[in-house]
């Protein structure tokens, strides 16, 4: 499963190359070490997706979060902020509350798997920070997300 993911990542990089220079840059980029944050973002997966109006963790989210836990346990010095997001199909305030629910669902999972409580902050952005901008399910499904940002801590 992980190998397929890696292969797919390399294919994406190759497809994206239009000249020799960027091809070289991409190769350099591809040789990221397992301890890099970039590795966590792209190969472990920093983002989990949610069903419309739901904050329950789906099976696809749980497998990503298990991988996150494995990686995070080796980097005990890194703080984490979990950002919760919603798609544009709801009102502003409700989506803020929904994003908070989603971020909290991820936080609860990480805590249950033994990640230290004082490493984790959460924040909701509601529908304020869409990743994709089309107005149909293709984009909405990518915007209903919780992102685990490593190295970021919100100071109260």
């Amino acid at each position: 499963m992980k190998n397929i993911g890696l292969a797919f990542f390399f294919i994406l990089l190759l497809v994206g190359c239009e000249n020799d220079k960027s091809f070289k840059n991409s190769l350099d980029k591809a040789q990221i070490s397992e301890s890099d944050i970039e590795y966590f973002q792209n190969l472990v997966g920093d983002t989990v997706l949610f069903t419309v109006d739901q904050s329950g963790l789906r099976p696809d989210a749980i497998s990503i979060l298990n991988a996150q836990v494995k990686w995070l346990k080796e980097k005990t010095f890194l703080p984490i902020t979990i950002e919760g997001h919603a798609d544009e199909q709801g009102t502003r305030e409700y989506n803020l509350a929904l994003g908070a629910r989603r971020a909290t669902a991820v936080r609860e999972f990480l805590l249950a798997k033994g990640i230290e409580q004082d490493r984790i902050s959460i924040v909701t952005y509601g529908k304020e920070r869409p990743l994709r901008v089309c107005s149909n399910e293709e984009c909405w499904s990518k915007n209903r997300r919780a992102v685990t940002v490593v190295g970021k801590k919100i100071v109260e």
């Binding site: 409700y94 509350a97 609860e108 304020e128």
Partner: protein, 449 residues
């Protein structure tokens, strides 16, 4: 032929940099019964035909102001959909002096129902002197009494709004709303990288100004009842938090007693309390915060999302949205706490309820079958009426007189962006408010002092 009453200049306002309003006089005017009947045929209002000649130029005044005073009044009254200005090119005569008798035949021949006569002069101390009288053309008599204003010359627009309010109130019997401002969020940049800034403008879109604040995300500013402060949600610390801004100094203070994430704040009608929602451990509930003491009181306690609270004008109740019953619906709870009573029961999801300043209606956003609507219902949940429909209409805000709503409409897709609209609570007269950037989250001030 013309019954010409002696002009009674009842009030002489003294203006410094800020307009000073004599409230006792305004109150006396409120007792004037509407002087004209609006004709309603098959649900279509026949607008009142209005003549507003350029104000008569008296000593020292410039002709730009004399024209613009009339123009702003025409625009204001036309924007209600209840009046229709006759173009000045159709006039058969122009008044030459403020005190000469009105030639009613010149105005009845172009079918004017109402004539607004005004004059503007510049005093030696630099102040403007503005006078106006309102005439019923068919009855050949004055509606109400003449008024006179003094102001510094930069404030001429506000005089136009005050005169518009007087005309609107005398003719329709409804409360005033033109001398008011709107705070909102000005939006620039692409949809996936928007910059949001707090901004303020006059009700008609004039005098647009960005407010100073840290560059982080801001959401939904709302006026204090005296219009000198706003409360809003900002991300300066990295998470949503409620902040107060003094509008004269643009100084920002946070409410230190808040924990976790806080958002959706609104003032009570007396300005002493703020109701807001706060999220702790993923659960969002309603709290009341007393500004003078900083004491925070929890109002709801369940596991549902309780947010978007709004005070009733008498300060006794709060309407909010909650998904405690499954989907988003509207509930009313006493500010003393206790059980919340559900008031919305239709199909779809109800959100962002806002109590009318008159106390009679609640405006809301409704999401039904993939469409968004702005609607109103009575406080007991009956007589629901949807006023708009689109891909995304959201966030109604009441005009000070409780007869008009502003909201924002966002268009779909990659280039999708929000604009502010207004609509009459009858469902008529949908209008886009011109802004120099994308604009969302409007909030309407009370009538200014």
């Amino acid at each position: 032929m013309v019954r010409h009453s002696v002009l009674k200049l009842l009030i002489i306002f003294s203006f410094t940099s800020i307009l000073f309003i004599n409230f006792s006089f305004v109150a006396a005017q409120k007792n004037d019964a509407p002087q004209l009947d609006m004709t309603v045929n098959r649900g279509v209002i026949k607008p009142i035909s209005l003549a507003v000649p350029s104000f008569i130029k008296e000593s020292g005044a410039n002709s730009i102001i004399s024209r613009e005073l009339a123009k702003v009044i025409s625009n204001n009254l036309d924007s209600t959909g209840l009046f229709k200005s006759i173009p000045q090119s159709a006039y058969v005569s122009m008044p030459l002096s403020f005190n000469t008798p009105v030639q009613f035949s010149d105005w009845s021949i172009i079918n004017a129902d109402v004539l607004v006569m005004g004059s503007v002069g510049l005093k030696p101390d630099g102040r403007l002197e503005v006078k106006f009288r309102l005439w019923d053309v068919s009855q050949q008599k004055e509606i109400g009494k003449g008024k006179q204003y003094f102001t510094n010359s930069e404030s001429w627009r506000r005089i136009s709004h005050k005169i518009s309010d007087t005309i609107y109130t005398r003719v329709t019997g409804e409360g005033a709303y033109f001398d008011s401002r709107v705070v909102f969020v000005s939006e620039t940049g692409p949809k996936d990288n928007r910059t949001k800034r707090l901004a303020i403008m006059d009700q008609d879109g004039a005098n647009f100004r960005l407010l100073k604040h840290p560059p982080s995300l801001v959401i939904a500013p709302r006026f204090s009842p005296t219009s000198n402060k706003i409360i809003f949600t900002g991300y300066e610390t990295g998470k949503p938090r409620v902040y107060l801004m003094d509008l004269s100094s643009e100084e920002i203070t946070s409410l230190p007693e808040l924990k976790g994430m806080s958002f959706a704040p609104r003032f009570s009608a007396n300005g002493k309390q703020i109701v807001l929602s706060m999220t702790e451990n993923g659960n969002t509930d309603i709290f009341i915060n007393t500004l003078s003491t900083g004491v925070k009181r929890r109002l709801t306690t369940n596991n549902a999302i309780d947010t978007a609270p709004s005070f009733s004008p008498d300060g006794k109740s709060i309407v909010f949205e909650s998904d405690r019953g499954g989907g988003q619906q509207l509930y009313i709870i006493s500010t003393q706490g206790g059980d919340a009573k559900r008031i919305s029961f239709g199909k779809g999801r109800y959100a962002t309820p806002v109590w009318s300043p008159r106390g009679d209606l609640i405006a809301f956003t409704k999401i039904k079958e993939g469409k968004f609507h702005i609607g109103v219902m009575r406080v007991d949940g009956t007589k629901e009426r949807l006023l708009t429909t689109s891909f995304l209409d959201e966030g109604p805000a009441w005009a000070p007189n409780g007869r008009v709503l502003m909201f924002f409409r966002e268009t779909p897709g990659r280039a999708g962006a929000p604009s502010i609209y207004s609509i009459d609570i009858s469902g008529r007269n949908l209008r886009k408010i011109k802004t120099s950037s994308f604009a969302s989250d409007p909030n309407w001030s009370p009538i200014l002092n």
